[in-house]
């Protein structure tokens, strides 16, 4: 028997074992069960990722912020051509990738988000057609590799994988440096913005200061500078390299999501979906794994926003209802959030002054102390559901970090 046939049989066995486990887990009421299913598949077949990815057009999406939303928008665009495999509930480590691939029909395209530190593993196994690189900034202070190390690893991945096309954010110096390893013919540059610049003031190539200005950014010493973008967002339209404007009307709020859509559309175009068609397919996506969903809580109407690090918060300020719209800040510090919430001090919470504000979550005291020093009047209400109700009636924006948002999404039910 040929090695390929053995691999294929093992892959089927692995996928079957995973599906069985997932189903068992669901019946036991342990959630959707897909990720544990992926873990079991990997136990049966160490190369399950490579086997399940064979024969598919795979797109990988990575970055500190916007992975889940960009991947969902990309899947919507690629969905105009047929079924698309995606990660279950934004699970972006190998078990989640395996579970997503196993659940889709053979040969279906795949749009998969990958944790920043796992991009190399995923690219090696899946030989992606496209790799979409969004941004890099500080996140999970206690456990993830230094931001600069991640950029170095990305650069190695991009340089080693000659078969893929890279769609990269020209406005983030760390991303631009990593993606430039692909050479100009293999990169589509998108001006996707990066309002947070504090993790890129030292040039990733030479260490000298990077200067940011209206026209972009450039190293003060070496020749690293913002690449000329093919695609940019301008006043409700995506503008291509010919200057043609493609209407960008999203159900999702904020500058960050227009950028996510631009990155997804640039990727979809590379895979044969025209920009207008891709953007039209994204327009109706209104909530992504609980993010941006609205739910009634007592007399209040909560809108859930994900804010898990300083760069993400800068984007969330742009999405909030105008002052004096009330805001609940919910922060946990579990393993998936990072155990160290010191990053709260890198967020300009002073901007919340003049609104009714509540500090909430398992680390509500950290939030409250930060708000005191920002001179923002607030109440500390550890239970986020109580906090939302207390700031009602009417619309209440809820900015929650990763596990806080998941908990809240689950508690508010699927209504």
């Amino acid at each position: 028997m040929s090695r390929a046939a053995t691999g294929s049989r093992r892959a089927r066995l692995a996928a079957g074992a995973g599906a069985l486990t997932a189903s068992l887990s669901r019946r036991l009421g342990r959630g959707e069960g897909t990720v544990i299913g992926g873990r079991v598949s990997l136990l049966v077949d160490r190369d399950a990722l490579a086997h399940l990815g064979a024969g598919r057009t795979v797109s990988l999406v990575s970055g500190t912020n916007g992975k889940t939303t960009t991947t969902r928008l990309l899947a919507a665009a690629l969905g105009t051509r047929g079924p698309v495999a995606i990660n279950p509930q934004g699970s972006n480590l190998p078990p989640g990738l395996v579970a997503g691939l196993a659940a889709a029909p053979p040969g279906a395209a795949a749009a998969l988000e990958v944790d920043e530190a796992w991009l190399g593993v995923a690219a090696t196994a899946l030989h992606p057609a496209t790799v979409t690189l969004l941004n890099l900034s500080r996140d999970q202070l206690d456990r993830v590799a230094e931001v600069r190390r991640l950029a170095e690893r990305w650069r190695e991945v991009v340089g080693a994988d000659a078969g893929s096309h890279v769609v990269a954010n020209a406005d983030d110096p760390l991303v631009a440096w990593a993606a430039s390893a692909a050479g100009p013919d293999r990169v589509t540059w998108v001006a996707a913005g990066q309002p947070w610049t504090d993790d890129a003031t030292g040039c990733p190539a030479c260490g000298a200061a990077i200067r940011f200005g209206e026209a972009g950014w450039a190293c003060s010493s070496c020749d690293l500078a913002r690449p000329a973008p093919s695609l940019r967002v301008d006043a409700g339209a995506l503008v291509d390299e010919c200057g043609e404007r493609h209407p960008l009307a999203l159900a999702l709020p904020g500058r960050a999501n227009r950028s996510n859509a631009a990155m997804a559309a640039g990727t979809a175009r590379r895979l044969g979906v025209a920009l207008d068609e891709a953007l039209a397919a994204m327009a109706s996506t209104a909530a992504v794994d609980g993010r941006y969903r609205r739910a009634p809580v007592g007399g209040a109407e909560a809108r859930l926003l994900l804010a898990k690090n300083p760069a993400g918060w800068l984007e969330v300020f742009d999405m909030l209802a105008p002052t004096p719209g009330p805001v609940v800040v919910v922060v946990n510090a579990r393993l998936a959030d990072g155990r160290d919430p010191s990053w709260l001090w890198d967020v300009p919470f002073e901007r919340l002054a003049g609104r009714p504000v509540a500090a909430s979550g398992e680390r509500s005291r950290d939030v409250a102390v930060r708000l005191h020093y920002a001179d923002v009047a607030h109440r500390r209400i550890p239970d986020p559901v109580e906090a939302i109700a207390a700031l009602g009636p009417g619309p209440v924006d809820v900015a929650a970090n990763y596990t806080a948002l998941r908990q809240l999404d689950a508690r508010l039910g699927r209504g």
Partner: protein, 269 residues
């Protein structure tokens, strides 16, 4: 971003004039990974709350460091930026002059290593700014990550301190330099049982959080070094919340006895 400007407190204001107290945040783009910029905000805010004018002077890489601020704050950072910060401080010399002139210095984590004589990076041992007789030339057996609790030297009149540490270097103090205190939970300097240092008006620690958010008494100690006896603070709610935060984090650190023991056992310390 606006071009670098001369920091306001760099102009030599006579000490007698009613000038704002300058709190210099040193290279937050190099030494700002762990929210330690919050320490500068807190120092300035605790002065303002007392009716004393205060200004945070943020000095980024490439800007000139003023020698005339009353307080200087250095935070944690990654290896290469940390080495760059030390090289800039040595070249510039303003921090040394300010410290010799009686300014207070708060150095956190990488900041501790940077103000010392030498420290270890991924690229080898490099020279620090040389303000304090301490070395960080050995790595810890395993990176120290977690809640850190410290009983300060009784002479400082401070309560038990709380913070979060995240570093890989072991710091050895020179013969004339005292530790800030004794480690109750966590690693701290990683040589003996001490954390940080106190040398004249310079105070160093491995406590993030930021350290002054969880430990307002350390903020007021630093402020008293440069402005003398502090008027009482009319912010009981803020201080009660900060003390509550410390109590919560100390309970999580010291209360987690079995887990903490297991961590120490795994580290072999």
């Amino acid at each position: 971003m606006s071009p670098p400007t001369t920091p306001p407190c760099a102009s030599s204001t006579p000490a007698s004039a009613v000038a704002d107290v300058g709190v210099c945040l040193v290279y937050p783009d190099l030494l700002g990974t762990y929210g330690d910029g919050g320490n500068a905000r807190i120092l300035a805010q605790r002065l303002r709350w007392r009716g004393i004018g205060a200004e945070v002077v943020t000095v980024r890489l490439g800007d000139r460091l003023p020698a005339t601020c009353e307080l200087y704050v250095l935070g944690g950072g990654e290896d290469r930026p940390q080495a760059l910060a030390a090289a800039e401080l040595r070249r510039d010399g303003a921090l040394s002059r300010a410290a010799e002139g009686g300014a207070a210095v708060l150095a956190v984590c990488a900041g501790v290593q940077v103000v010392g004589r030498r420290f270890l990076t991924a690229d080898g041992i490099v020279d620090g700014a040389g303000l304090v007789d301490l070395d960080t030339v050995r790595g810890l057996p395993a990176r120290a990550v977690g809640e850190l609790a410290v009983d300060p030297d009784p002479g400082l009149g401070l309560p038990r301190l709380s913070g979060y540490e995240n570093h890989a270097g072991a710091t050895t103090l020179g013969p004339g330099v005292q530790p800030l205190g004794t480690v109750v939970r966590g690693v701290g300097n990683g040589t003996g049982h001490g954390d940080g240092f106190v040398a004249g008006r310079m105070l160093g620690t491995y406590l993030h959080g930021p350290v002054l958010a969880r430990n307002l008494e350390v903020a007021d100690l630093l402020l008293s070094w440069v402005v003398g006896t502090l008027p009482p603070l009319e912010q009981p709610a803020a201080d009660a919340e900060a003390r509550g935060l410390r109590a919560e984090r100390l309970a999580a650190a010291v209360g987690g006895g079995a887990r903490a023991w297991w961590r120490r056992y795994q580290r072999g310390t």
